[in-house]
Amino acid sequence: MLVFALFLYPLFAAFLSLVIQQKRKIDILVILHALLHFGLGAHAFIRRGSLGQMDDLGLFIFLITSLVYLAAAFYRWGEINEGTLRRYRIHSIVLMLFIASMDAACLVKDLGLIWIFVEATTLSSAILITYDNSKASLQAAWKYIFICSVGIALAFVGLLLLVLAQGSHASLHLAKIDISQLSAFWLKLSFIFIMVGFGTKIGLAPLHFWKPDAYNAAAPALCALLSGALMNTALLPILRVDKIMRAAGLGALAQDVYLLMGFISVFVATIYIVKRPNLKRILAYSSIENVGLIMICFGLGGSAIYAGYLHILGHSLIKAALFLLAGNIIRFFGEKAYGKLPGLLQKHKFTGWVWLLGLFMLLGFPPSPLFVSKFLIFGELMGRGMYPQLILLVLLFASLAYAIFKSSFQMFKQDDTAEKERLSHTAFLSPAVLLAIAIILSIWLPVFD
């Protein structure tokens, strides 16, 4: 019963917002949606099964979305919005529908339906990216929707091949797929297509080209959701198919593919981070690097699987916080290039220090869940004797840390002309709370069944 509230509320709020004439009241509708989302997630966490057929994996992704959405909704409250009421109204409605699409993808167990809902997230998020209607955001959104559409189409080919793999009595419902009847040949081919297709959507290299532009053009709250929630939702079908692959005895092939795509992603992201001195683009490339690390975790298996889930959780919270903080910084300076952002501490001390803390946590310094996950990855690589990969990863991490700190420290240079800026409390407390949760989770590590 509760599950209906998840989908009825956005519809109800959408109708209500059509008659509301103030942006502030529309914001309240969004915050109420985020609170409802969080409340239902917490309830389902305590009383499993209260959200329909949502399983543990779905609930895990749902809870992360809840936290990020709550922070993003409060952050929006503190933003100065100069768009028209009509545009803001559409943006808010689409935002709630975007969240509802992600919820539905977490809820269902049918790969065909998951595919449809992931497709719906592409459509809704593309509309959200074009909010400011600038030429750059329009082109970024076009690029995003086009590349993701190609990816989604390829993922659909993967689903068709999965149907073919089953012969008669085929189904895309996870519980109805008869593993013993699967043709290994078609399943392998299906997996490759699904991996490439949804891999495009999560931004794995070499199919990541939409990501830096889309993140650069999107508003801070949307960036937080794209990186902290949508990425995980797109990862969900891959993790679902991974279970089929393992059950069919093809886990080794899946792991090899994860490792290959993971290392390529970390490598490509590092190269681009060194090249691009832009606040939001660096965070976007860092998302590519982190999704690569998540794939490496699942590719390694063993204790690294735990690291993978911990990395998903930690990265979502930290990256969402950093995108929100980046929004504050861009608001202070009106610029995104690192060289043009000196005197951050003079402008807003709290934002400056929290930003620095967030960067440390993102790079895997304690206290961060990413420290634990990276530690476990190194341990697993050593345990398997994969020393060349270990050395490569260490070198890439070192280059990445150097590039990010080199760029970021320019923001902490003294600037005598800088004036103190005022911010709404929710604009700097929302990201701080996300980081605080991440710190708590790095001390009291969560247990994943």
Binding site: E119, K135, A136, W142, V150, I152, A153, L164, W186
Partner: protein, 211 residues
């Protein structure tokens, strides 16, 4: 009859490799839409009448009429050069298309041993169309040509879903939703008149230019 239509669809893919004009490509797309409509009618036994009517009408109106018209109109209004301006020559394109066909049929015949429900001709041509669509996207700079590539790919997917649909008819209906994405892409290009071409692999700066 069904096999002849599928073969005609396959021949249209070869034609695409040798043309340099956008308008010809769009006519071929409309032709493919008509072929798919006819193929849907001949495959109607797999579907209930409501799904069949919806899919057949959607294929005819959307793939054979509306999208080609939108694309032609966008070219006219945006004053886009009528030439394809591909990165590769026609000869290379044709040779590659032939290789794609050989590879797809080899896959279809080989994989026929793994599934007795599969028809190698449908599968081979559908798979070749998907690969051809990807090739068109990668080998061209213009947004309109990217869209044409996507549409070819989507036509291939539709054909594949018809071939596979005997096992699970629901996939044909699900696949139709890909047209929604296409519609949005075409609408943005048509209404917003964004720049006629940019590299998908290059970053855009704050003004939307490649950097």
């Amino acid at each position: 009859m069904l096999q002849i239509l599928v073969l005609l669809f396959g021949i249209s893919l070869l034609f695409m490799s040798v043309t340099n004009m956008l308008n010809t490509l769009i006519r071929i797309l409309a032709f493919q839409g008509l072929m798919l409509f006819a193929i849907t009618i001949l495959s109607s036994t797999q579907l209930n009448w409501l799904s069949f009517a919806f899919i057949a009408l959607e294929t005819l109106i959307f793939k054979a009429l509306v999208i080609p018209w939108f694309l032609s109109d966008t070219i006219r209004h945006n004053a886009i050069n009528r030439e394809v301006e591909a990165y590769v020559s026609n000869f290379f394109s044709l040779a590659l298309m032939s290789l794609i066909f050989i590879g797809s049929f080899a896959l279809a015949i080989f994989s026929g041993q793994h599934s007795d429900k599969l028809f190698p001709v449908e599968f081979g041509i559908a798979f070749a169309a998907i690969i051809k669509g990807l090739f068109i996207i990668m080998a061209n700079k213009k947004l309109i040509t990217h869209l044409i590539g996507y549409l070819v790919m989507e036509n291939g997917i539709f054909l594949l879903s018809i071939a596979v649909g005997g096992e699970l008819p629901m996939v044909i209906s699900i696949g139709i939703s890909l047209d929604l994405l296409l519609l949005v892409l075409v609408a943005v290009l048509f209404i917003k008149r964004i720049k006629s071409g940019f590299e998908l692999t290059e970053s855009l700066d704050e003004e939307g230019e490649e950097c």
